[in-house]
Symmetry: C2
């Protein structure tokens, strides 16, 4: 392991210790810590341990329930609605994924929604959970802050509502798409600001509709959806499916969880599981996915393009690297995490 | 009705007569004719009666089975795979929508796939069929010709694989998204060429990666996906779900049905139905969709923007206008349809 980096186990145990010190039962602390550490291992740096201080702040401010018990409140043979009891988002959302997998095994497909949840980390986590069970997984979420206006509008009534889909392959890596419905996720704007770099045109516009490229002025700007009105349509539809359908927040009701630690967010998510065996021979399906992956990767390229990537390949390389070398923790984050551990009387993250 | 226009009934009866003359059984001819006429009424001009000469050419060339009997070949309580028997695409796809609706009523959700189908018209038709049954409908299809390379690539290995989602509302119109995963659908490029207009930058690039704006050079160009690699990912995922999962054509196997009338296309589609009642009170859901629609439509606008549209509102206005005034049939298309009727000894389209 590279010096200064931490392993998945170290990260998971640290996060679990922090949660237990904040009043989260051990089993739940372990579940959430495992998922958050996994987010860091796959390179979703803005969605793993980076979020821990914020989650703890929210628990301590009374905005999130550390002893939540998510439960199924509506159920049919191929569907369920889970109330997250305002607990850590990972609990209800992983329960939705497990429930969908179990139901799809007999029903062919299953869809499970979440309401009264919270931010649950990177979208791909839950799609991959289904894919690791040998099925096709799809995940939708209402983002935890509105940064997107309707097409032609000025008011931030929509979030960057993401979609993730994970498709099993045979010898090739699974195909894992994880994307926001905006050209750039808001986290990328923050990174540009930190680095003092300009944003490319097409990421944001100002209130006159002109391109905005200075990331320090991001709070005066509007994110642009992919494909103009098309991305607006996708953000709206994903929000209806992950939010409105479940009785979760959508539109004006979405709480900016970066700015507000106390208001219940009522975050919504949805997981779809499709059992490949309900549509034919899974081995044949996997061979077809392999052949398609190879066709795409091996096809002729535009001048100057080194490689054609399949969705999920780059984060897979990050995962393999970090499984071998550990996860780098930037110094500013490490100081925050050390302070958090001291504050809660929990064990510090291994040096 | 405006002079020269034709009504839905006239269009439907004309199309049904042509199909019967080409050997399609009366009931099937009626089903497909109704859906094709509906495509024209909602303004999907490139996907309605415009396609009739091509479909008939394919039947006569032996590439499509006029007496197809689609049937369920795989089934679970919440899923089905339908083999379209290489018939008119509308038959198997509308059967998939009906099957999904029936199953979702008891199971909560249901997903039905199609293989061995054909081009089935505009995506929104099948999502709206589910929405008209009071459910949320989602439709995916593998496009019937490849116009899109993988991101960074030159080879046309993907189609503009569309998605449609239709969501019921209460007093407001349903929200109906229907979009290709490319910035512009290929039909829009053809329209620009017909009109002698340049394409905007961002629709296509040439084989050097430079913007291509002359629509007459479209055959040297590559369509661009929405959001760059994101739209590429969506086109790939939708193709995996609508094609590969069903054992239908995807990638290199996709037959260009514009250039080839004889090779079996093995087109794939998928329909998802979600019963709103499985997730709570449908009346409350409809009120929430109404409130969201009004919030978005009534929100502040960018300078110069007259109106914020919800997905599906513009095609709804077209439908209302055409229900009142009839469907305009351009002279060149009318000549083609007249020739087709003479050729088959069928009744001509009403003048």
């Amino acid at each position: 392991m590279t010096a200064g980096n931490v392993s998945y186990d170290q990260l998971r145990d640290f996060i679990a210790g922090i949660y237990q010190a904040a009043g989260v039962p051990a089993a739940d602390a372990g579940t959430v810590a495992g998922l958050m550490a996994q987010a860091d291992v796959i390179g979703a740096d803005g969605h793993g341990v980076f979020r821990l201080p914020q989650y703890i702040r929210r628990i301590r401010a009374g905005g999130m329930n550390p002893r939540a018990v998510p439960r199924v409140v509506e159920e049919r043979p191929a569907s369920a609605l889970i109330d997250g009891d305002n607990g850590l988002g990972h609990l209800a959302t992983s329960m939705a994924a497990r429930t969908a997998i179990g139901k799809a095994r007999t029903q062919g497909v299953a869809w499970c929604g979440v309401r009264n949840g919270n931010h649950a980390g990177p979208a791909s986590l839950y799609a991959r959970m289904v894919q690791e069970a040998g099925m096709i997984g799809l995940y939708l979420a209402v983002g935890s802050a509105n940064h997107l206006p309707p097409w032609g509008g000025l008011e931030l009534l929509l979030s960057t509502n993401p979609i993730a889909v994970a498709v099993p392959a045979g010898e090739e890596p699974p195909i894992v798409l994880d994307m926001a419905t905006t050209v750039a996720a808001y986290g990328k704007v923050k990174v540009k600001a930190q680095r003092g770099e300009a944003m490319p045109e097409g990421w944001m516009i100002d209130h006159q509709g002109n391109p905005l490229t200075d990331p320090k002025r991001a709070n005066e700007g509007l994110l642009l959806p992919i494909g103009g009105y098309k991305g607006y349509g996708l953000a709206l539809i994903f929000g209806l499916l992950a939010g409105t359908l479940n009785g979760a927040a959508m539109g004006r009701d979405v709480v900016d969880f970066n700015a507000d630690d106390t208001t219940v967010t009522n975050t919504g998510q949805a997981v779809l599981a499709i059992d490949i065996a309900a549509f034919g021979d899974p081995a044949e399906f996997r061979r077809s996915v392999d052949a398609l992956s190879r066709d795409l990767r091996g096809s002729r390229r535009l001048p100057g393009v080194d490689r054609i990537w399949l969705p999920g390949e780059q984060s897979r390389l990050t995962r393999l690297k970090r499984e071998a070398e550990g996860v780098p923790i930037p110094p500013a984050l490490r100081s925050q995490l050390d302070a958090l551990a001291r504050d809660l009387g929990a064990a510090a993250l291994a040096a």
